[in-house]
Symmetry: C2
Subunit: 358 residues, 2 copies
Amino acid sequence: MAQQHLDPTDSTAGSSPELPTALEQGGAPTADALACYLRGQATEFLRALRLHRETGGSGHGTEESVDAARALRRSARRISGSVHTFRPLLEEAWSAELCPELAWLSGTLAREHACQACLERLLLALHRLSGTAVLPAQPTEEVPGGRAVDRGNLTVGAAKAGALLERQLTLARTRAHSTALQALGSARFHAVADKVAVLASDVPLTPAAATADLTPLAAAARERLTDAVAALPLVTAGSPYNAEALVHGLSPDPSPHPQDAPWHQVRLLLRLHRYAREVLDGADSPVIARLLAAGQALDRHRDASEAAAAAASAARTPRIAPATAYALGVLHADQRHEVEAARFAFQQSWLKQAVGAG
Amino acid sequence: MAQQHLDPTDSTAGSSPELPTALEQGGAPTADALACYLRGQATEFLRALRLHRETGGSGHGTEESVDAARALRRSARRISGSVHTFRPLLEEAWSAELCPELAWLSGTLAREHACQACLERLLLALHRLSGTAVLPAQPTEEVPGGRAVDRGNLTVGAAKAGALLERQLTLARTRAHSTALQALGSARFHAVADKVAVLASDVPLTPAAATADLTPLAAAARERLTDAVAALPLVTAGSPYNAEALVHGLSPDPSPHPQDAPWHQVRLLLRLHRYAREVLDGADSPVIARLLAAGQALDRHRDASEAAAAAASAARTPRIAPATAYALGVLHADQRHEVEAARFAFQQSWLKQAVGAG
């Protein structure tokens, strides 16, 4: 689907008369590679959409409909990401219209999955912390005016915290599901789907794109990434147990963790860089695998950050028992610890790979 | 005060007729070194005791009386530790009587300091976590039946948690202080002090000690240490963010952290090994400095473990507000994180130094 980027040492190894042609075809990636990539992702999008409808996307997640929704988000992100990076080669009005609509779509579709993943992460952590299953047989109501939190109550606290989180995050997931269904039935969505259907056969390249080289635009995406990484506190992150992630964890600030934002930003820039490499090298390139590994650390960072926030938010529920609040406090700190661990993992993976040269 | 242990490569470097004498005096440490060390520590003990009485040890800690109490514990630990290691060279009945009495004394004296250090550690952590001073101007009473824990309340929670910990640990410290004063005025203490006064001039060596070599007994102490270290989960501890220390943090088990015990044991064995090295090499040896660094990581492990337990225990106070319980949960997890960090630090320091060869 995408052109293979030939190693320059390979293409200069021979001195046959075909050399200039080889360089022309494989040496510098052209807008053809972008068009091919966009057509491929648009086709994926349409296939996922058809699958989603066939597997009854309206009901609560069968495995197939979950997979279909994931594939839909996946291709939507790739189309919008590569259009963003290679925008000068595409018709301006078309790009300006499509990109925000695809961002709206993938954001809307992602929310249900995020709620479910957050709940699973928190229940798993509670299980690890309490040494027992924390899914209570019958969710009990919280009683105002907590009594003594004795030793036995600590487990009661973990179970109650689990039940509380399950109620809150299941509700959020159900809402996200309805919103996603509404979105998929809306005129706004049909307009996006129509645009993507056209894209599957006809990519609106600019006239100048015919002779353009993709490399400088891909390099600019890489540079935005390396600049953002350079601004991260990587020295601190690389020093284990720096206790930075929990700093101000009890602060009255409504967003007590602005320290997470630059990491979230790097996660997005790393993804854009990866999609650009997919356009240039194909999805099976070893560069992509290395970028995926670094990206997984940042996914874990985002997930733990959101889980910690969900635990803190649950602790603000009126009339919870002290044992429940205590368990949520332990859980919050545990997830902030995970945030710190993810930063360490990213720092290690960033050092290891030659992303800058990728 | 203590004999210098000569490097055997030094003592065999020359071939002068004085060689046998040099080996006799400095090559193999004899019971003289032990007697000299014990006399020295007994003298320190008596000096510290006099200072403690002069600086009004009965009042709450002036700086001098705190220093005097520390010096008293310090020499008591060294006497009992070196008697323990080199017991076969000392009169059996005397050792059997003295050791438990010194352990009782240093344990009793240590408790007041431990309560104070624990409180300071927890308030410092709360300060770091909340970004504000957590010593409340006027400690408020907890109101039964907590209300909504909103964002502002998180700081209120930190302040209330600080006030609660301060009340509980100050009470414990005051009790420990009274117990220490009672101990220092008791007939039991005077009997110990009399024994130490005799020790300052007369060390009850066995007849066999005169020709004995201290090395095998010191080596046995080192071996007990290395065996205990070998049984520690050092591979896990050396892998940052292993999340082991918080496992079962919400378990109903009354002692949820039996995992700490082997580390506490290594801390004691490391101290015994260090005192044995002091007898052999003197307190200024570079070996001692390296052992101190490893020991500091284990002191930090013990302190964080106790602070985490104090936070969990405070959370079991009846009728606390949910915001207070939440802050104590965060604090507990934070200190368990510190426990894990201390294990990592010990692992690193143990790898670095050649303790086994020390």
